[in-house]
């Protein structure tokens, strides 16, 4: 299956293999890794938590949205959960398309959407404490209790 939430380390090649095909001329991957320094603060490790069944549904939805916009694209996404050390891989997004521009655009679309609608949370453990990371997009909260249509559809 092309969309997965995994407790095990992600093998990049396995995600790529899901999208390579005879009509693909370009495959882009996005690999999110755990960075040590953020704005001068040192991260020791991270914990990722997911609402797994819904997270998989939302990853599938992102795949459908990509298919609507880029009909020739094939997409695969695996997100890790659990404890991650510095340089560990949190997410791998692979997108194949016949031509390269679409592979970049569709891949970027996927990561932005993940940060909007996929129920996965990151707890940063710093040297001096820990915190659940809020909305990284720094958009306003959700006064209606769910993402606005504009968030979902564009």
């Amino acid at each position: 299956m092309n969309y997965d939430i995994s407790k095990e380390p992600i093998v990049i090649q396995e995600v790529i293999d899901k999208v390579v095909n005879r009509n693909a001329g370009a495959v882009t991957t996005f690999i999110g890794t755990v960075r040590e320094m953020t704005k001068g603060k040192k991260t020791l490790f991270l914990i990722y938590e997911a609402y797994k069944p819904m997270a998989i549904k939302k990853l599938e939805q992102i795949g459908s949205e990509i298919k609507e916009r880029w009909p020739d694209a094939e997409t695969a996404i695996t997100h890790r959960v659990g404890k991650l050390e510095i340089t560990d891989i949190a997410v791998v997004i692979a997108v194949s398309t016949p031509h390269r521009n679409d592979a970049y655009e569709a891949n970027r679309y996927a990561i932005e959407r993940i940060k909007e609608i996929v129920p996965i949370w990151k707890k940063e453990h710093w040297e001096d404490g820990e915190t659940w990371v809020g909305n990284q997009l720094e958009t306003v909260p959700y006064p209606k209790g769910k993402p606005e249509e504009v968030d979902i559809d564009d």
Binding site: Y51, K57, E116, P119, I120, K123, W132, N135, K146
Partner: protein, 77 residues
């Protein structure tokens, strides 16, 4: 009964990740209000809600057996 799922800071705040609560016929907003009072749970105003694994409005009416998940701002990726 409504099955409620809590994640991230909400889970830490309440000290548990699931609970059952009477809520047949209530709206999501009413359930939030009830939880705020019963558990002194802060910050429910700014979270998203999913009913049976799909995002839902505050106006959505709940039925026994529904699973309601409160979804703080996500930070995957």
């Amino acid at each position: 009964m409504i099955n409620v799922l809590l994640f991230a800071q909400l889970k830490d705040e309440l000290g548990k990740e699931t609970l059952s609560i009477e809520g047949n016929g209530m709206s999501v907003a009413q359930l939030k209000g009830k939880m705020k009072i019963e558990f002194q749970l802060e910050g429910l105003e700014t979270v998203m809600t999913a009913v049976n694994e799909e995002f839902a409005d505050d106006e959505t009416i709940l039925s026994d057996g529904d699973t309601v998940a409160f979804i703080p701002p996500v930070s995957g990726g």
